[in-house]
């Protein structure tokens, strides 16, 4: 168009031709704008949708990964893949692809038009292309290396930050603020260093590309000038050729940026795929799940051994064998680190369990669908975790829709109702992250209520009342015992009073069951159990004498 206009200037009906060319130009600009609008919108919005989808799929995969995965992967790392990496993919698919498409289109069109004007000149202008391609490839590699390091130091920085925030009380209590600032600053500085080297290569690349483009233009000027002088090219053609070449300078300069995005998006996608490649835990159940055996014990554990992966501390459980009848209340005791919590998490299949070791009503659990087992077992873990939501939503966490009636019943059984009702919003009171606005005992009772509300047939209480005073503890036990019809309970505790109420006690020692029997039997046997609890007994007798 520019060429027409310029050539028109020297033609006889100059003005008309100029006007015509200019109106065409405006029309094209409007059309171009419209296309750009729809193209842009179409591509970017699609990329956003892909981003959303990817993030969702990634989360829904990650949340189904085995617990051991979370044991070895810092939360900060998982977070950074779900956020930063997914965003990097969006940048690649959205702005990156858009720029790339724009670049490609500009190149093809411009080259076509340029070729129409003069093939020779076009070839001359392309002389530097191979060098540009080569430089870009080398740059891509360098960027990839630097970027990966930067990414790693970013993850380290995030982990430090997250840990600091979650442990802020401790930081304050021990006056660790300066130490923490030092740690964080070191992490930031590391990140800074890597970023600087990233930008160094990036700036160098930009400069180099610009220089190469300059060489190209110089060639064209020389050659083109010569051609015009020789009369083998019109002046308008020469000017238009230069204009097209100038149009290419921006896409060429943007090359570096696109390469960054591609590298970044590519390695982000790699990191995402790494997670997506880890198999999730819900293994497919066999076609015909085993049927219940009528007179089998409710729960049976046969020769169960277990070691945490990646640790060389030996087996946490060694050949555990025991069984629970339906409706039985059984205590589990043992020293700290003897494997009680480990056993509880295995009963819930939170870690992989070898086949033929755990049986629920006669059925090997490794052949049952995971949700059936976890639905049948309600665990109150030793470390109470609550969500920053209303008490009601927390209590009904195991249900699809919150049911206030059920929640109230469970809260009342957990002896938490009176306190909840005193709160201004009752069950609808929002508690902070991890239930921070509740006292330790309140948190524990809320988790007990949550388990009661879920209503599994097997209730596992892992030292779930340690922060509750003994008066309340006894009341809760009475409640649970009073509705024992059908519900089987396995609980661990360090308080003897509750042990004297249950049907049977299992004693664990260094991952083995060493004793089994009622409280009285075990106490009179003067073995491991006696050693554990005689002290409490003696204090009691001492007091009785007072």
């Amino acid at each position: 168009m520019i060429r027409d206009a310029i050539d028109g200037i020297s033609a006889p009906d100059g003005r008309e031709q100029v006007v015509r060319a200019v109106s065409w130009m405006v029309l094209f600009a409007v059309l171009h704008g419209g296309f750009r609008y729809f193209g842009r919108r179409g591509m970017l919005v699609t990329a956003r949708r892909v981003e959303m989808r990817l993030r969702r799929d990634l989360l829904s995969h990650v949340i189904r990964l085995p617990l051991s995965f979370f044991g070895r992967t810092p939360t900060g790392d998982v977070m950074s893949r779900l956020t930063n990496d997914v965003s990097a993919v969006w940048l690649l698919l959205g702005p990156g692809a858009l720029t790339l498409a724009g670049t490609a289109i500009s190149y093809v069109l411009a080259l076509l038009f340029m070729a129409r004007i003069n093939v020779m000149l076009t070839l001359v202008s392309l002389a530097v292309a191979p060098v540009i391609v080569f430089t870009s490839r080398e740059y891509g590699k360098a960027f990839h290396r630097n970027h990966r390091k930067a990414q790693e130091s970013l993850a380290a920085m995030n982990t430090t930050l997250q840990e600091n925030i979650t442990g802020i009380r401790l930081v304050k209590a021990y006056g660790l603020e300066e130490r923490e600032e030092g740690r964080f600053r070191a992490a930031c500085r590391d990140y800074y260093r890597h970023n600087v080297s990233v930008s160094k290569t990036s700036a160098a690349f930009h400069g180099a590309i610009g220089l190469l483009a300059g060489v190209g233009v110089a060639f064209v000027l020389l050659m083109g000038g010569w051609l015009v002088i020789r009369g083998r090219l019109t002046l308008g053609g020469f000017v238009a050729f230069n204009a097209y070449l100038a149009m290419l300078s921006f896409p060429t300069m943007a090359l570096g940026w696109v390469i960054n995005l591609v590298q970044r998006g590519g390695s982000a996608m790699g990191r995402i795929n790494e997670f997506l490649g880890i198999p999730t835990e819900s293994w497919e159940p066999v076609l015909s799940p085993p049927r219940k055996v009528p007179d089998a014990p409710f729960l049976e554990v046969r020769d169960l051994s277990f070691a945490y992966e990646g640790q060389d501390r030996g087996e946490a459980l060694k050949g555990i064998t025991f069984s629970l009848r339906k409706g039985e209340i059984v205590g589990l005791v043992g020293q700290t680190g003897s494997g009680k919590s480990t056993l509880f998490s295995l009963l819930l299949l939170l870690y992989p369990v070898p086949p033929g070791t755990i049986f629920l009503e006669g059925r090997d659990v490794s052949l049952l669908p995971l949700d059936e087992i976890r639905g049948a077992v309600s665990l109150v873990s030793q470390d109470p975790f609550l969500f920053s939501d209303t008490i009601l939503a927390n209590i009904c966490f195991g249900k699809d829709v919150p049911d206030e009636q059920d929640a109230r019943r469970a809260v009342s059984m957990a002896r938490f109702l009176a306190e909840v009702e005193e709160l201004p919003d009752g069950l609808h009171t929002v508690i902070g992250e991890r239930g921070i606005s509740l006292s330790g005992g309140q948190k524990q009772r809320a988790t007990i209520a949550r388990a009661l509300c879920a209503g599994g047939e097997l209730l596992l209480l892992d030292d779930a009342l340690s922060a509750v005073d003994s008066e309340t503890e006894q009341e809760i036990f009475r409640e649970i015992l009073s509705v024992r019809g059908g519900r089987t309970v396995l609980f661990s505790t360090h308080r003897m009073a509750s042990l004297s109420r249950c049907d049977r006690v299992l004693v664990l020692e260094e991952g083995r069951i060493v004793e089994e029997g009622t409280h009285d039997e075990l106490f009179s046997r003067r073995g491991a159990y006696y050693d554990l609890y005689s002290r409490q007994m003696i204090t009691r007798e001492l007091e009785a004498a007072l």
């Binding site: 060319a21 704008g33 949708r49």
Partner: protein, 610 residues
Amino acid sequence: MSNGAEFYFYEDRVETRGMDMRLLRRLFSYLAPHKGLIAVALGALVLGTACQLAGPYIIKLVIDRNIMPRVMEGLGRRIGLFFAAQAGAMGFLYLQMFTVSIIGQRVILKIRADMFGRLQRLPVSFFDRTPTGRVMTRLTSDVEALQELISSGLVSTVGSATVLVGIAAVLLWMDARLALVTFAVLPAIVLFVELLKKFIREANREMRRKLARLNAFLQEHLSGVAVVKAFVQEGKSVREFDARNDEYAAESIRLTNFYSVYFPGVELFASVAIALLLWQGGFRVIAGAVTFGTLVAFLEYAQKFFSPIKDISDKYNILQSALASSERIFQVLDTEVSPEYRQLPPGGKAPPGRAEEPGGESGTPPAQPAIEFRDVWFSYPKGDGTGGEMVLRGVSFALHEGETGAIVGATGAGKTTILNLLCRFYEISRGEIRLFGRDVREIPREELRRMVSLVLQDPFLFSGTIRENVEAGGDELDRAVEVAGVSRFSASWETGLATQVGERGGHLSVGQRQLVSFARALSRDPKILVLDEATSSVDPVTEHEVQGALGKILSGRTSLVVAHRLSTILSSDRIIVMHRGKVREIGTHKELLASRGIYHRLFSLQFAPR
């Protein structure tokens, strides 16, 4: 998650009108220390721009002097000149890009460190009410957005403005009328940009908010993943996540739509301007008013003129997003620090009754109790800044140096709260807390921290080894590890004290975690030891042994313990019985049993077999 949760947490929404200048000024204050580098960057920019601007002029010369008159002479020289200009431009571009990015990185480094430092000094109640994921978002993606502004925005905007002014000058110099034609579309562009700006800013702000929400959700559900699994709620969690993810996507799509109008819009204006120029310029060339070379140079310049305009309007957007972020960053930096981190005004706000006391600095009179609560009232601060229900109601008690006090009471009675206040995690509403006769509000923070060693009810460990965790408390590693019973289990492990404890200590059993945090408290040499159910998950045998060993190192130290197990309570000198925020009974074990009150009931229940 229900909607209620949204109102509980500190609101993220920031309303700012006409704040931009203030924000910018603050941002500039971060740039100030890098004056030298900025000067280099600007210098490189100006020189680079000059080199770049020379390009079209040289082309004009080539056309007017070589091509039109068809002379080869001087063509090579001019092209050499052109190439030199280009090389100069690129050299300066490199310099400029590199320095600018260093400036950006340094500013960000500083802002991050400042934010982190501020974070360390915020009151505990801030963290009670701000989800971790939200705080993290501010230190990460908000800061990155700001960096983007500095690295690719501030300096290059100055650069673009320079180019703009430079080109405008050249154009006016070459031909004033054609120049004015080129500028004709400028008012329209400004109007257009201003019109969209409001929407873009708002959408940006919303998007950041939604992102923070999304991150908070992720953070929480990842740390509670065991619960999600135990209750088979993976599906529900994903659904709830979806809602947040959708919100975020919707907001970002809205923003994308605005941008989709914005960029092509600006470009359209530029094309119109060039068309105008061609039209007018063409006529004038035909009329012989300007030379042909001038028109070509004009076209080249006009294109170079509109690229900084596009650039500036693009940067204007980065600016919008960065301003949305910096609002949130400065919000953190402006949150008031906890009072203990503020300098005490000399002789300032001494509480009444302190004036007549002798200067407590040199040797406190022995009569002063080590810990004293005088009619303490307290309520946890709520999100709106008001206090909630009173949690402590007129708590008074005293504990003398060397004594062991035990706080007992039902859960939720306020035991932990008392310890929190003793460590000054929160400010009391009424009354006084004194340590060795000095109001805790007057004891400098470092001194208070050295004086009191606390074991939290919720044993938190940093990821790292057992040794690193214990040493975070103080230097007396060996003794602490021995007394707290850590060596009971660590000794049998190959890695011993170098065992990694995992995030939050997750690779240890809960009892082991408690023992490690106990050891941490013992590794320093505190005057006051405060234990909040420190061994509640530890078996009786270990607990007994720990207590035996503890007795030896406790002599002469004051300790305040919260415990439910009688074995722990029995050995204390004074028992404080709490009930619903009030001290109901104080005395020794015998006295309290004899008075047949709450304590008697608690005690007899603990061992009553049925």
